[in-house]
C-alpha cells in the first residue's frame, strides 16, 4: 500500500528551508573555497602497550601496537594490532555456565589524506573471536574555519557483525551498525578550547548476547526460579552529545571537564561527567589525575526477575541494561625523553595509566550469593530479595611511545 502525504507550504516552512539551504551552502563554500587555513597530518609515532582489566570475575589483558608514518606531505598511514586474552566470566554468565577462556584479535589500517588543507581519513577494522567476527569501515573529514579558531569534523562508520555460539556450530546471526558523527572544536581564548560532539548510531539484526539469560519465578524449581534465553528488539537507535572544555593554567598545567548525555530507543538514559587535572614537573614528567562518574536508567524491557516464562516479547537481564552507576578514579604518569633535533627519533615517552572503578547496581541482584553458602540454609535470601550486585575493577595500561 502506498500512502502519499500531502505537504502544506507555510511561510515559516519556506524560511526554514531557506535557512537549511544557507547552512548547506556555507558548509560547501567552507569545504571548497576557504582552504587557506592550516590542517595538519597526525604526528609520526609508534606505541607499544600492555593493557589489563581485572574485576567482576573477569581477567582480560594483552598487547596493542600502533604504527603511524607520513608518506610525503599529503599522506599518513597507520596500522594497529590489538589482542584481548580473556579468562573467567562475569556474573551474568556464571549464573548459568562456567568460566571460559578465549582471545579476541583486532586489526586496523588507516590512511589520512591532506588535500588543499582539508583532512580526510579512512579506516578499516576487523575483530575476530572464535564465536564473533566484526568488521567496520570509517570515513572522516575535518576542516578549520574562521582563522583556525573553529574545526568542524564529520564522520560516518558502517559495521557488520557475525555472531556465533560456542558448542552450537549451526548458530549464526548477523547485525549491522551505522554511526554518524559531528564534532566542533572552538578556540575560546589563548588558554581555552571547547569541544562539542554528537553521534547517532543505529543497529539492526541480532543484538542479544547468545550466552546470557533472564530469570523467571518457577516454584517447581529447587532454587525457586529458572533461566531462559533473553530476547532483545532487533533494532536500536541511539543519540549521544558531549561537551568538553580544556583550560591551560599559567604554570604549564591544565584542567579539563566533560559532560555527556545519552538516550536510545530502548529507553536507556545516561549521563557521564569527567574531570581531570594535568600537572608537569620540569620538562620530563607529566602527571594526570582524573575522576569519572557514569549513571544510567534501565532499558524498558529489563527486569531482574520475571513472574513467568516468556512474560513479555522482549526481555533482558544483562547488567549493562539495568539501572546502575559507577565512579572511577585514575592516575597517569608520563616520563619524556627528548632527543636531539638532528636525530631521526625526536622524543620518547614511558607511560603508566591506572583507573579503579566501582560499579553499583540498583536492580540487578547477586544470585550467586546463595550458591556460595554450601548447605547452610539459614542465610539464603528469598527469590527476588538477594543483595544488589556490586563490584570493582582495575584498568591498567603500560606503554612506550616513540615520536619521529
Amino acid at each position: 500500500m502506498v500512502v502519499i502525504k500531502q505537504k502544506t507550504i507555510t511561510p515559516s516552512g519556506t524560511v526554514r528551508k531557506l535557512i537549511i539551504r544557507l547552512i548547506i551552502a556555507c558548509i560547501i563554500v567552507g569545504l571548497f573555497v576557504w582552504q587557506a587555513f592550516a590542517a595538519v597530518l597526525p604526528q609520526d609515532r609508534s606505541d607499544a602497550m600492555y593493557h589489563s582489566y581485572q574485576g567482576g570475575g573477569m581477567s582480560i589483558d594483552g598487547p596493542s601496537i600502533l604504527l603511524r608514518k607520513k608518506i610525503g606531505n599529503h599522506v599518513s598511514v597507520s596500522a594497529n594490532y590489538y589482542v584481548d586474552t580473556i579468562s573467567g566470566a562475569s556474573i551474568d554468565v556464571l549464573a548459568t555456565a562456567s568460566p571460559y577462556a578465549e582471545e579476541r584479535t583486532e586489526n586496523s589500517v588507516g590512511v589520512d589524506f591532506l588535500h588543499n588543507k582539508t583532512l580526510m581519513s579512512l579506516n578499516y577494522t576487523t575483530s575476530s573471536e572464535n564465536d564473533f567476527e566484526a568488521q567496520s569501515i570509517h570515513f572522516g573529514v575535518s576542516q578549520d574555519f574562521f582563522g583556525d579558531l573553529t574545526t568542524l569534523s564529520l564522520g560516518y562508520s558502517k559495521g557488520n557483525d557475525e555472531v556465533g555460539k560456542t558448542g552450537d556450530e549451526s548458530f549464526l546471526e548477523l547485525a549491522e551498525r551505522q554511526n554518524y558523527q559531528l564534532g566542533v572544536t572552538q578556540v575560546i581564548t589563548k588558554n581555552m578550547i571547547l569541544g562539542l560532539s554528537v553521534e547517532n548510531i543505529s543497529d539492526q539484526g541480532y543484538l542479544n548476547n547468545p550466552y546470557r539469560s533472564v530469570r523467571f519465578i518457577d516454584a517447581s524449581s529447587a532454587r525457586g526460579y529458572r533461566f531462559e534465553t533473553e530476547v532483545y528488539p532487533n533494532t536500536r537507535r541511539s543519540n549521544a552529545a558531549s561537551i568538553t572544555a580544556n583550560y591551560y593554567l599559567p604554570y604549564r598545567a591544565s584542567v579539563y571537564g566533560e559532560a555527556k548525555v545519552f538516550s536510545d530507543s530502548w529507553g536507556i538514559q545516561a549521563n557521564t561527567y569527567k574531570l581531570g587535572y594535568i600537572h608537569t614537573f620540569g620538562d620530563d614528567w607529566i602527571v594526570e589525575m582524573r575522576a569519572r562518574h557514569y549513571q544510567q536508567d534501565k532499558a524498558d524491557f529489563y527486569q531482574d526477575l520475571y513472574t513467568r516464562s516468556a512474560e513479555f516479547n522482549f526481555r533482558a537481564r544483562d547488567k549493562e541494561m539495568s539501572t546502575f552507576n559507577n565512579l572511577s578514579l585514575g592516575l597517569s604518569l608520563t616520563y619524556e625523553f627528548q632527543f636531539s633535533a638532528a636525530n631521526f627519533f625526536k622524543k620518547s615517552t614511558i607511560n603508566l595509566d591506572f583507573d579503579h572503578v566501582n560499579y553499583n547496581y540498583d536492580d540487578f541482584r547477586n544470585v550467586l550469593v546463595n550458591s556460595t553458602l554450601e548447605g547452610d540454609t539459614s542465610g539464603i535470601a528469598p527469590v527476588g530479595e538477594e543483595p544488589l550486585y556490586q563490584f570493582s575493577a582495575n584498568i591498567t595500561r603500560f606503554y612506550v611511545s616513540i615520536f619521529y
Partner: protein, 81 residues
C-alpha cells in the same frame, strides 16, 4: 502564534546571514592570533594525546555500560561475556 514563530525565524535568518557573511569574508580577524597559540598546542591540552590508551579506555568502559558514542571510535567486538 504562527506570526511570532515566523518573525523569530526571519530574525534568526538575518543574524545567520550577517554572521556567515562576516565569516565568509577573507578579512576575518581571529581573536586569538596564530602566535598566541603556544599554550593551546601543548600536548597537555589535547583530549587525545595518547590515542592507543584512549581507544582502549573507551572500549573498557563501553563494554560494561549501555551508553555509546560521542567519544571517537574504539573498534568492534566486546570481549565482555
Amino acid at each position: 502564534m504562527k506570526a511570532i514563530k515566523s518573525t523569530h525565524l526571519r530574525l534568526l535568518l538575518v543574524i545567520m546571514v550577517s554572521g556567515f557573511a562576516s565569516g565568509c569574508s577573507s578579512t576575518f580577524e581571529p581573536w586569538v592570533k596564530p602566535y598566541e597559540r603556544d599554550n593551546l598546542a601543548d600536548p597537555i591540552m589535547s583530549m587525545n594525546r595518547n590515542p592507543v590508551s584512549l581507544a582502549y579506555t573507551h572500549h573498557a568502559y563501553q563494554a560494561r555500560e549501555g551508553a555509546r558514542g560521542a567519544e571517537g571510535g574504539a573498534g568492534g567486538g566486546c570481549g565482555c561475556n
